[in-house]
């Protein structure tokens, strides 16, 4: 096997109404961010179950980011408020278990913030790349 430059795997959950549109806008404006980021479209950030996040780590993701509408702007009025609570507690728990807190993130990106989406992804990929491979929540069975 040839030695490649380390490229992390990043899963980005984006809400359909703001962040996914923000990602589209980043595309329309040709604002580049690393190809390691792959977006999963969900109706609202509140659809993201903590289990999905752990699942991503199990399957080999090195970072998971959840993007939703800014608090107060949720298409469903309150979804992202719940996301905020759930993720605050989950992330705090992961940190408590000694799992690098930089691997998970929540960002609010509106449909108009294409530039913010790209900048966020650039920054997140950089942070996760610096951390290196996810070892603490890996499932060895899923390694190639």
């Amino acid at each position: 096997m040839q030695v490649n430059e380390y490229k992390p795997k990043i899963v980005a959950f984006c809400c359909n109404w703001c962040s996914y549109a923000g990602a589209d806008l980043a595309g329309s404006n040709r604002l580049a961010y690393p190809a390691e980021v792959k977006v999963i479209r969900v109706p609202c950030s509140c659809r993201v179950n903590p289990m999905f996040i752990l699942r991503a780590f199990q399957r080999g993701a090195d970072g998971v980011i959840i993007c939703g509408c800014h608090p107060g702007d949720c298409h469903y009025t309150s979804g992202n408020y719940y996301t905020r609570r759930r993720m605050a507690l989950l992330f705090s728990m992961l940190d408590y278990l000694g799992i690098e807190k930089e691997r998970t993130r929540v960002e609010w990106v509106s449909a108009a913030e294409g530039a913010k989406f790209a900048a966020t992804m650039n920054d997140f990929v950089q942070t996760v790349t610096a951390l290196g491979e996810n070892k603490r929540l890996e499932d060895l069975r899923c390694k190639k």
């Binding site: 580049a32 190809a35 479209r41 659809r47 179950n49 991503a56 399957r59 993701a61 469903y76 309150s78």
Partner: protein, 664 residues
Amino acid sequence: MQRIGVFVCWCGSNIAGTVDVAKVAEALKSEPGVVLSTNYQYMCSQAGQEMIKEAVKEHKLTGLVICSCSPRMHEATFRKTAAAAGINPYMVEIANIREQCSWIHKDMEEGTEKAIVLGRTAIAKVNLNAPLTPGESPVTKRALVIGGGIAGIQTALDIADAGFYVDIVEKKPTIGGKMAQLDKTFPTLDCAACILTPKMVDVAQHERIRIFSYSEVESVKGFVGNFDVTIRKKARYVKEDVCTGCGLCTEKCPQKKVPNEFNLGMDNRRAIYIPFAQAVPKVATIDADYCTMLKTGKCGVCSKVCTAKAIDYTQKDEFIEEKYGAIVAATGFNPISMDKFDEFAYSQSKDVITSLEFERLMNAAGPTAGKLLRPSDGVHPHKIVFVQCVGSRCASCAEKGKEYCSKICCMYTAKHAMLTRDKYPDTDVTVFYIDVRTPGKQFDEFYRRAVEEYGVHYIKGMVGKVSPEGNKLIVQGSDLIANKQLKIEADLVVLAAAIEPDKSARPLATMLTASMDTNDFFTEAHPKLRPVESPTAGIFLSGACQGPKDIPETVSQAGAAAAKVIGLLAKDKLTGNPCVAHSDEMMCNGCSSCEKVCPYGAITYSDKEFRGPNRTTLIRRVASVNEAICQGCGCCTVACPSGAMDLKGFASKQIMAEVDAICK
């Protein structure tokens, strides 16, 4: 197992420029379930769509993956294509290889690799897709309008004219609202009564409109197309269908000292009253707070004089239950209380009045029969000062004023100034303003006429203090342009009080599960594109309950709300979004977590019988989702610990399959 067709779009060079589409199509061929994988220049074109349809037939496809632009762009297009080809439209998934791939990557290898992963992810999802059919619910072809002001009246008339039944619930004894209290209307100076009362009569006579006056909404249940509403008809102690509105009782009633709210307390009425001459319904009402008979059991004058025998002291509140397909909130506004603005001496001097009080003073049916006389001594004022923005644009004192601009004050103040100068040329009129805001047709022209033709003095500045001295009011204010502080001896001061939503709106919003902003104005579904709809399906907004509005704007919004209601009622059935939550009753333990996070109240519980082990039956409390109300956010799915709640189209397993495909 699905039979999936993968279609990779070039989008001209938009995708093909940085993604090797042929390679993507080739790579996706060996993914599970894929029986066909191909590419084409413009998948969304007529030819592209035809290609898909033929492929569906030829390969007996059950699912489609289109690798193309954002689903926000063409998901609907390809779903229609799928439907036309005879497969369920929800068996289509889009891999966004343009906005989220080709457009952001420059390197062909990198772009191609990512496009393959995105395609694979979509395939993984489609493998778990199930055909979805939108739910249907019937529509009750009757609308409820809450509030009988000009907004409610116009909405009701428009809906009724389109052939649907409408009920108006008005909490006061008559419809008409604030407009009935106005004298003239800007910018044309028509008499408000002349244009409003014919509409009130139209409403009263309309065969498809019912008016529940002196009534309030008690409870609202159900959902779009199927609301169950209870209306409380308050006891007015007069039989509505018997009273002829002759008014004799209102002249004979011995209780004469009741402040007349229609004239804002500037004169008195009797305990039994008809608010004003053109009231609809023109029926007397007994004010239970003041009626001697109701309070002490001794009097009965009205009953004696009533030839129609309409008086009924034993009347009780009545509850009416009705079904509606749509509900329009038209609860209107009120001027805010001036009590807290000590600097303007409103509570110290009778000659400091609000603009609405001024309307009544100018009105021929008002307390002064249309003569402009000072409330304190009945003398004609020669020097009037108008103060604008009292309580509006007031950021520092939430308990006193409002942060927003009340929008209508600039124009009515110009109207008042102009009318005063027109009727009483001997009267000197000064207006203190911060800004004069006149963005409306003929509005600025109107304001300029007040200045140029009628000689109203507009002073850029704000009044700091009003102090009564003798029979004068000393108005101290700044003239910012002259850089002077003015002290004006005025006979009358008129305050343009900020307006706020009616107090009944907040509890109503709770009943309707309609959202409100911090100022208690109803929130619109979209500030630009859906301005007359509430985010809660089936709830519409008309008039100032949504935000400050003048009459022309209110009437046009009322018409727009009516159009939306008509659009809804014209349907026999409502088709929902099929991507809604679904509760697996076998798994649900009835804990109510999901119900608590549902923003729409779409989840209800019921006790159901289940088969237990060994031929026993168990009764369990389980959740069910009303598909007509659910909007598909999925919040409940995470609140549910057992996973009984899932979201169709975005099921946990589907999302996990996507995660797996990405991380592979």
